[in-house]
Amino acid sequence: MALFADTGLRLHEFVRRPATIVLVLAVPPLAIETYGTALESFPQLPGLAEPARVGRVTGTLFAVAFLAGLVGLFQVISSRSGDERLVLCGYSRMRLLGTRLLSLFTVGAVASAVALATLGLRVDVAAPALAFGVLIIAIVLYGLLGVTVGSVLPRELEGSLVLVFAADLDNALSSDLFDTGVVGRFAPLHHPHALFESAVVSGELAGDHLLPTMAYLIGFLVVAVVAYTRAGVRAPRS
């Protein structure tokens, strides 16, 4: 129960920052429409998916993943000193990480709902619940990446740049727009992208992509826990 009470406090912190709420609500529609409009100009080629739909599906994943990464990053960086003081007061670092992740997932779920609703306005989503579940997976994946980057590179500008490049590159490699060969298959969003595409187009669970997705999740979780628990603040000297 205490974990949920702490998470409630973190969410209070979050909603008291209006600019962040605007970003959570505005970035998904903007990214989805930008990707869709950009790819509309590409010709429909035989045997390939409709470019505009591919663009919107890709934009949806990018928007939620990027937002989750940024929220994870800034949660860790902006509260780093306060968290260290709390640890000295007796809080366990794992409990702190747990509250950070729970509040991140809550914010991410809101962003996913907005993204899915936006996508549904332009594309028929065959299995909305399944698609929403895949977006949550993408949020967890990139939220953990944000926590990791924030722990090992606790500077807002540099950390944000790393996340922008990671999300952009990952999304491009995962989108099936280009033949990226074996490199693309190792991109973290490759399997979630296949799961999401399948949920949107056919409404089926692409079972062969589920296990690799879970493997990435576990790997990212382990790395994030190690990075967060080992990153103690070294406060500025006098």
């Binding site: 209070h12 912190e13 000193s81 306060g82 000295l88 007796g90 070294r234 406060a235 006098s238």
Partner: protein, 227 residues
């Protein structure tokens, strides 16, 4: 050790130590080439006994806050040992609070960290807010507090669990005169009750309030005043 350079551990004390630090060494280095390391602490010894109030002064950049962070456990020393007995309260120079939480939420969060019950947290919050004069701001967000009120909250977080050892880094920065006097009244009561207090400041005016004053210079503590 040169004449006149007495270790802080050499003084006799009747009370048992609540803090004992020996041979503390700290340097700031860099992994970048062509940069040199900065030796900040070079064998600092200090013992603080029950009910003592100790001042540590030093020039800017002398390593006072570094020493305080090592004493409280917020920073690892390169060498030496630190032993603490009992509950520790730390008031850092930078407030290290959550800007978008309210004052009452801040008490709740840190109080839970200390393992206090809800009733104890409320009692401590009301007692300290009344004593330091910020009861009108309990429902205010931390980032909307004045510098002085932020510092009162910073100090209150260090005091709320009735620590046996209180480590205060520039604790009265931004206080108005009434709060400054209230602060010293409070510390006098705490010392009377057996709490040990170490205050770090770049400037200590009222020297008769301290049992011992040390100067941090060249990486070591030098006795400046004994009572």
């Amino acid at each position: 050790m040169t004449p006149g350079e007495q270790s802080a551990t050499d003084r006799s004390s009747d009370g048992s130590p609540v803090l004992e630090a020996r041979e503390i060494v700290k340097s700031y280095g860099s992994w970048l080439p062509f940069t040199r390391s900065n030796d900040v602490l070079d064998g600092v010894d200090i013992v603080i006994s029950g009910g003592e109030i100790v001042g540590i002064v030093g020039a800017n950049g002398s390593g006072k806050s570094t020493l305080m962070q090592i004493l409280v456990g917020a920073m690892d020393a390169d060498g030496g040992t630190v032993e603490r007995a009992g509950r520790v309260g730390w008031c850092p120079q930078e407030t290290l609070l959550y800007d978008r939480l309210r004052v009452d939420e801040t008490f709740g969060l840190f109080g839970e960290g200390y393992g206090m019950s809800g009733n104890d947290i409320t009692a401590a919050r009301d007692r300290l807010a009344n004593r330091l004069g910020f009861e009108a701001f309990l429902d205010e967000r931390v980032d909307r507090l004045s510098g002085g009120n932020r510092q009162k909250l910073n100090l209150s977080v260090a005091l709320m669990h009735d620590p046996e050892l209180l480590l205060l880094d520039e604790p009265y920065t931004g206080f108005d005169w009434d709060t400054y006097l209230a602060f010293w009244e409070l510390t006098a009561e705490l010392v009377e009750a057996g709490t040990s207090i170490a205050i770090i400041s770049h400037l200590i005016n009222e020297r008769d309030r301290f049992d011992h004053i040390y100067t941090l210079r060249d990486g070591r503590l030098h006795v400046e005043q004994e009572r």
